[in-house]
Symmetry: C3
Subunit: 331 residues, 3 copies
């Protein structure tokens, strides 16, 4: 079995799931766990839980999961996925996004084809997920009863932190990290940082800029305040941007090509794929002029705009340039 | 009558309205609706509701409004505006801003003169609007009773989504869209997007940048992450910025002039009104050098900074430039 | 005594303080207040409150504090600091940060050495501060009981507005101002603005950009949308950035040097300390070429990038440059 999880969720007035929460999701589960949760039922998006489940979980050593089953009662269900097929239900998408955010899968690793169609657009409120056509009545009801119902977001994706908070992270403003983000151990997402789904960091990173859908950032790389990584969802660019290890994107900079390791983009410089760049050696001599996209994946580069001439320059050692194809085949 | 609405709101200890919520606001109401809500009372900011109101609304076919009157009881009032005069009360301003956010009025269409004076500065909290001089006592009381009172904002304007969520929108972070914003059907405001009051989009748009007060964005135009549109409230610029149809403001770009249709500002380029710009034809030949403000409202332009020379260039076809006065008189 | 305050806070399952709230903190307290709160107890981070405290506070004329003691009951404690020593407890750090945010201390004025070690990383939720290892159980419990527990942040620092809202401020999105920020009377932090701890404004300011840890902004200075001030925590820069009076950082600009008074950085220009800058007189003649860091603290400068040549220029009057050492010794 590909993955299994005890879940619970919020339903609209028609009983359709608006969102699903999986406190202890498991990829590649043991047969014992599968047996405890499913008792021979076939896999599915919302499998009902039978009366003996909590006891079987306890017997299988899953005491936390057993306690959750007991606490949630008939609000609980099981989502069991035989394989990593194209998702066909809301619960399935939520489980896959949760697997990424709990670091059980890397971005780009899971089949998320067509996920938008499986995610309802929801009002995320202080009273939970609410279907949009039920929102006004709920707001009136709340005010009538003396409560303040606050709408935090109207979106297909919820905040990651309401579903998964992996070890070793900080997030200044949880509304800026979507479920399906992958934050490595040691990553801090400051208030100006942003991480979309199916994107993120592999390890220690200070993220004060925006990690677009699909973008991965390597170990030890920092994204300065307000910096931009170009996404592929809009903007007409089909190259998937990535950032290697120990890179620095300066504040308010922008990146339109995949970077190798130990690269720097100066604060304030937006490096688009089509930017013509003058490559300089250590002595400041021009080696060549290329499009930025031709430097994709090369390590040990420093990009800056010359403040006297306005030229976008790339400082490199000649060896880094020569070794490009060999060293950076992983790009 | 200009507009009428059933309302409810939050009051400070002196009974002054801090905010007003209008679930079903109506511009140019039918006489039947006016009669059902007012029973001959004169228009006003906070007209009391009489005992027969819910029944009259039901008789007039306004079942949702009738249910709201019954649910809200003596928390409900009616705000009725004879004309679009300069607002003179908090309820009036909230009703006008709600008309914009429910797409019953376009930005710049309503008389909002002096609105700041009618809007109290309020602590927007998890327990609703709280007067600033009552906040500390409320925080102590909440903690004493085991609750966490969270302050989401200290501002004259609330979040739009707590007052109006029109059809066909998504908002990644609701704290970034103020009441009085106008989001067209098909608009997504991503987490880094921002929309001020009396500003917004007319139709389908992806908004990942900031739409300042007064700025309108046309159908099919996208605002890249972190891009800036200059406002008129500060910054010393009196030109009202606008963006035509099918434009693209690149990520981290900036705009200091009104744009025509099908224009692009390259990622990372801040085009101020006073920027000198070199206008090029399709072959890269210089046509002329002008201030950016001289290109206000012209369509089919591409603005970029030459990455070799640092020159801000405008790629246009000569015809676009010539036709400027005729085609773009709407600017 | 350096400071004293009635406090209350949230504890984890082991009884450790996760955060502390001081509604009426007092720097340099009168002996009467110290006597009323402590009754001869030695200073400390969490001094228990005895039964007579509320009456003594009433007798000392501290009626609000007396009411708080009565309301909070055994949830209350006293934090009393003999001196401004290096903080050694969570309560102590919270009290010092609260003193800054209530304008009883300026940034850089208090000893905050080692504060990170005293601040636990906490999940800030709609149900208050929760220890990270207790979060999942709390989320399950909330859902089991039909509540939505929302995680607003996972951080060592809370939002300022949940602890202190000094007079004369507005904050568009409270999640963007950390406890320990200092907002002057007349400061508006718009939704895109950000203020870190031990940083802020001295008076009237419109803040739509990011004030990094340690950065102070003078009276009448505005920070345009998305502008960046370089911090010293990361980025490899050891100069403490500051902004003098009546300065303007344009939208999407960036600042890597301390500015004097009446300086402007044009929208979209990122001025790093190492940028070579051409200094021009009123007639546009080049006076000299210097690194930006050599202009640190000089007043009456305008920084821009020439849109024809790409050169970063500094417009100044010659006198401003000459008087630098004398006028700007405070930098």
């Amino acid at each position: 079995m590909f993955a299994i999880a005890l879940g619970t969720g919020t339903r609209d007035a028609q009983g359709q799931l608006l969102e699903a929460y999986f406190p202890y999701p498991t990829r590649n589960p043991s047969q014992a766990l599968v047996d405890a949760l499913l008792v021979g039922e076939p896999a599915g998006a919302e499998v009902a839980i039978d009366a003996g489940c909590a006891q079987r979980l306890t017997d299988a050593g899953e005491s936390k999961m057993a306690a959750a089953v007991q606490a949630l009662g008939d609000k609980a269900f099981v989502t069991a996925l035989d394989s990593d097929a194209e998702p066909s239900s809301t619960a399935e998408v939520y489980l896959k996004l949760t697997l990424i955010s709990t670091r059980q899968a890397k971005p780009h690793e899971l089949n998320l084809t067509g996920l938008f169609a499986q995610l309802p657009n929801v009002a995320w409120t202080s009273e939970g997920a609410i279907a949009l056509d039920e929102l006004t009545e709920r707001q009136i009801q709340a005010r009538a009863e003396g409560r303040a119902l606050t709408v935090n977001s109207v979106d297909k994706f919820p905040r990651m932190a309401d579903y998964a908070v992996p070890a070793g992270i900080r997030i200044g403003d949880a509304s800026r990290v979507r479920l399906g983000a992958h934050l490595g151990d040691g990553t801090t997402v400051m208030h100006e940082g942003f991480v979309n789904f199916n994107a993120g960091t592999t390890g220690v990173s200070m993220v004060e800029g925006r990690i677009s859908a699909g973008v991965m950032v390597g170990e030890g790389s920092d994204l300065g305040g307000g910096c931009s990584t170009m996404g592929t969802l809009s903007g007409g660019n089909s190259i998937v941007i990535s950032v290697g290890d120990q890179c620095l994107l300066g504040a308010n900079s922008g990146l339109g090509i995949p970077l190798g390791d130990r690269c720097t983009v100066e604060s304030g410089l937006y490096l688009t794929a089509g930017s013509k760049v003058r490559v300089l050696d250590e002595n400041g001599n021009t080696l060549k002029e290329v499009k930025a996209r031709d430097l994709a994946g090369v390590s040990d580069l420093l990009f800056r705009r010359n403040s006297m001439t306005g030229t976008v320059e790339c400082l490199a050692n000649a060896r880094a340039i020569e070794l490009n194809p060999a060293l950076h085949s992983h790009n």
